[in-house]
Amino acid sequence: MFGYEFFVDPSRCIGCKACENACAECDTHRGAPMIHVDFIDRRETIATVPTVCMHCDEPTCAEVCPADAIKKTEDGIVQSSLKPRCVACSNCVLACPFGVPKMMSALEQMQKCDMCYDRTSEGLRPMCATVCPSQALAYVRPERLAGRREWPTNVFQFGNQTVTTKVFMMVPASETALAVDVVDYMWEGRA
């Protein structure tokens, strides 16, 4: 859908799993959700976070695939592995920095979130972002987010690897990129 972008804002998530349930309803993966909601640490907090595929500009999953089975479409959507090529080795599952691809052992194929290609190609929003009752997952025009306390970023630092993504993460307005590792803050890493 032209002009629309996908935004993830964990601070809005209420852990209801409407997204997981709705994803599982898709005809193409029949009962299995391609996204997930984590309770960070239920003992300590009610904080939860939804995870969808971030659709990396240079997808690690595709880079580590020995069978060249993972393709990205022209509009930047990283797809499930091509069934005839996939050898079900799980390299992608292990390598993805966001923990997205799933090995469907019964199918011997990696499947993952494709941002509801079937829906967006028909002018419909992705299912999870449509139903999400807190809009922690939102598929909207970026101007809709103007004036928010949070700010979208699509630059993630994992150690020495910088990942840029199609999907945006809402972060505190002071942050321009999200770094998650001590290494990211060390002088040695920048030399």
């Binding site: 209420i14 209801c16 909601v37 984590d38 299912m127 807190s134």
Partner: protein, 743 residues
């Protein structure tokens, strides 16, 4: 004798709850055979009444599609909405009337079942008087069904005693708003919430019980608004609260009195508004003098400075809204709690404007509409009082009877169960109510049910209560009969008949009319369709508080819902009440009401030192009759657990996942501990959606609010101990706690 004909285990084995996990034919069938049609209607679960499209194939509901044009939820749904379609084409669905036998239930024809039901009801009434029979209704019924049921009880049976499960839901707020404002409805449309500068949520687990409202609150914060949350638990929306008030269960009133104390002490009240639009202010002002924040802190457990801050934010904002739900209502002072919120809004002039007002979040599917048109024990259609001679005359004229034929007010839901237990009520007809799970002190409820001489139910699944029935009339699901409901905002919306009732099941309204015929009232129940019932309802409500006269099905469709009151056909409806400070009492003023502090009805002592509070989780609805049959919703929260703070858990040597026995003065139950820092250490929480040994309502008590007659589900005294062994129902392996990520 209404004991179950078989051991409960055998009944559960035959009639469920069993799981349904996939649409008819499985998911593969979906891609092979696309749906025949999409039906724009509303979710059956909860008072948000989200717009949803149901996929229909071969007259079965096989899936859903968001309905993005419906303005309230714009496509958003919670997990219950996403999976609601799985209740249709369900293996447990009752497909024919059932008659009780020595060894269980047998299928019966409609003539036999209806004749038997009418005959037994009449026999009891002939022997013991009209009022020896009672009717239970429910707030998940369409407004047409609720209206019909009220008329049925009063004319066809001639009993005083009809009440409904909304008695466990909204009646404290409804009573409070009627006293203060002269009308029982939330004053603001929900699109006001993002326009408020302060939203004060008290006693409402918004994220789990009214999930769509979360987005409205988040948008308020996007606009720079502040969020205040008062709750004994850090519910999910508190993750973004600007101020959290950890109120001890049963003490909300003290918190609210202290907030008003601060407002008046510091001169933050709106004198002009109070003078122009209210009465009774001085007495209330006097009554809060004693409630300084320091005293309130000792009672509520909320720090004095937090009380001060909350009061100042609320009073100083140009536009502030209060949202409240069962957390305030389920108390023996539930009405007072709600009145204290009302008083706070009146004193600060936070009402009757865009982004300003106090609002109750109704819980059940038709929680609002189900209480407007005559299935409450003291009301006639249009929110009219049954004791009001003018109201009786109006409704009598519409019904074609003399006013004397309409019985006077009867007993409320819990009072009816008490009367059954005393042997005064001997026959019961129930629809859309599962009292064995949802009424307090379920041991008492079971004893009462066993005393009934006749018990008939209209149901689509065999509920635990229906185990006690003599006859089960196979009725309809929400998607099987057209009608209207009224949502949390006061918006009347159109429920479509997406599919017909399956096999030999029948529409609920047909069943009620057929019974009326057999009770000699064919003429007054000659309704061929819900539309005809609605047309009569419009007339019956005309001129009343809840005036539906100007509402038609077509107008609802054209406007995406009509907010009542809507007195004439060219009236657009009334999204916002009290604009210009006009209230619904004859003098146009709102009435401040004094609220007296008192302790809860089951106070803690040395033997029962811990507070038990009960409530809901996001994946289940009410007594679970529907959601415990939907596999993915069950997986999300498979069994009840008890939430315990680590500090309290440590005192009892309880670790996360341990089996814990929770005992109250009535009963005890054993369930798994969920040790979390998100609850007060003097309080434990159990969700109430399960039956039998898993039922939280084994533990709760039967004390009622004297005015609203709501039970005090939110406070019981209890004690904890680590259980020596798991209960009989425990799964062999440890159940997956919802904290675990499902792979």
């Amino acid at each position: 004798m209404a004991r179950p004909p078989l051991p409960v285990e055998a009944l559960l084995e035959r009639w469920g709850p069993h799981r349904n996990d996939a649409p008819p034919g499985g998911f593969a069938e979906q891609s092979r055979r696309p749906p025949d049609r999409l039906v724009k209607t509303h979710c059956c679960f909860c008072g948000q009444q989200c717009g949803i499209q149901l996929k229909v194939r071969d007259d079965q509901v096989v899936g859903f599609e968001p309905w993005e044009e419906f303005p309230f939820n714009r496509g958003m749904l919670c997990p219950k909405g996403v999976r609601r379609y799985l209740q249709n084409a369900h293996p447990d669905r009752l497909l024919s009337p059932l008659m009780r036998t020595e060894t269980g239930f047998r299928e019966a024809g409609w003539e036999e079942a209806l004749d038997f039901t009418a005959r037994r009801l009449r026999e009891i009434q002939e022997r013991h008087g009209k009022d020896a029979v009672a009717v239970y209704g429910g707030a998940s019924l369409t407004t047409e069904k609720a209206y019909l049921l009220g008329k049925f009880a009063r004319l066809a049976l001639g009993t005083r005693h009809i009440d409904y499960n909304g008695r466990l839901c909204m009646v404290s707020a409804g009573t409070a708003y009627k006293l203060a404002f002269g009308i029982d409805r939330s004053p603001n449309p929900w699109y006001d919430i993002p326009r408020a500068q302060v939203v004060f949520v008290i006693g409402a687990n918004v994220a789990e019980c009214s999930p769509i409202t979360t987005d409205y609150i988040w948008r308020c914060r996007d606009n720079g608004g502040k969020l205040i949350v008062a709750d004994p638990r850090l519910t999910p929306i508190t993750r973004n609260a600007d101020l959290y008030l950890p109120v001890r269960p049963g003490t909300d009133l003290a918190l609210l009195l202290a907030m008003l104390h601060v407002v008046l002490r510091d001169g933050l009240e709106d004198r002009a508004f109070i003078q122009a639009h209210t009465t009774g202010f001085e007495a209330v002002a006097e009554s809060v003098k004693a409630w300084d924040p320091r005293r309130a802190a000792d009672v509520t457990g909320v720090p004095p400075d937090a009380i001060e801050q909350a009061a100042r934010w609320f009073a100083e904002a140009d536009r502030a809204m209060a949202l409240h739900a069962r957390g305030l209502e389920h108390h023996t002072k539930g009405v007072e709690n709600c009145l204290a919120v009302v008083n706070l809004c009146l004193a600060t002039g936070q009402i009757g404007r865009e982004g300003a007002g106090c609002n109750m979040i109704t819980g059940q599917g038709n929680g609002q509409g189900g209480r407007e048109h005559g299935q409450k024990c003291d009301q006639l259609p249009g929110q009219r009082s049954i004791g009001d001679p003018a109201a009786r005359a109006h409704v009598a004229r519409v019904w074609g009877v003399s006013p004397e034929e309409i019985p006077q007010a009867g007993w409320s839901a819990q009072e009816i169960m008490e009367a059954i237990h005393r042997g005064e009520i001997k026959g019961l007809l129930s629809i859309c109510f599962n009292p064995l799970v949802s009424l307090p002190d379920s041991g008492f409820t079971r004893e009462a049910l066993e005393k009934l001489e006749f018990f008939g139910v209209i149901e689509f699944f065999l509920s635990e209560t229906a185990h006690h029935a003599d006859v089960v009339l196979a009725g309809s699901l929400q998607e099987e009969e057209e009608g209207v409901t009224c949502s949390v905002e006061g918006r009347v919306i159109h429920i479509q008949r997406a599919v017909p009732p399956p096999a030999n099941a029948r529409a609920d309204s047909w069943i009620v009319c057929e019974l009326a015929k057999r009770l000699g009232q064919a003429e007054r129940f000659a309704f061929a369709s819900p539309r005809e019932i609605f047309e009569e309802l419009r007339e019956a409500s005309r001129g009343g508080v809840a005036d539906y006269y100007g509402i038609t099905y077509e107008k609802i469709d054209a406007q995406m819902g009509v907010f009542w009151p809507c007195p004439t056909l060219d009236h657009p409806g009334t999204p916002r009440l009290f604009e210009g400070g006009r209230f619904h009492h004859p003098d146009g003023r709102a009435k401040f009401q004094e609220t007296e502090w008192r302790a809860s009805g089951d106070p803690p002592d040395e033997h029962f030192p811990v507070l038990l509070t009960t409530g809901r989780v996001v994946s289940h609805y009410l007594s679970g009759t529907q959601t415990r049959r939907i596999g993915p919703l069950l997986d999300q929260y498979p069994e009840p657990q008890v939430e315990i703070h680590p500090r309290l858990a440590e005192q009892h040597g309880i670790a996360d996942g341990d089996w814990v026995t929770v005992a109250t003065r009535r009963a005890e139950m054993t369930l798994q501990a969920s040790v979390v820092r998100t609850i007060r250490p003097d309080t434990v929480f159990i969700a109430y959606h399960w039956a039998g040994a898993r039922s939280a309502n084994q533990l709760t008590h039967r004390s009622l609010d004297p005015r609203s007659k709501i039970p005090e589900f939110k406070v019981s005294a209890c004690r904890l101990s680590r259980a020596a062994k798991p209960p009989a129902w425990a799964p062999r392996r440890k159940v997956a706690l919802p904290v675990r990520r499902a792979d």
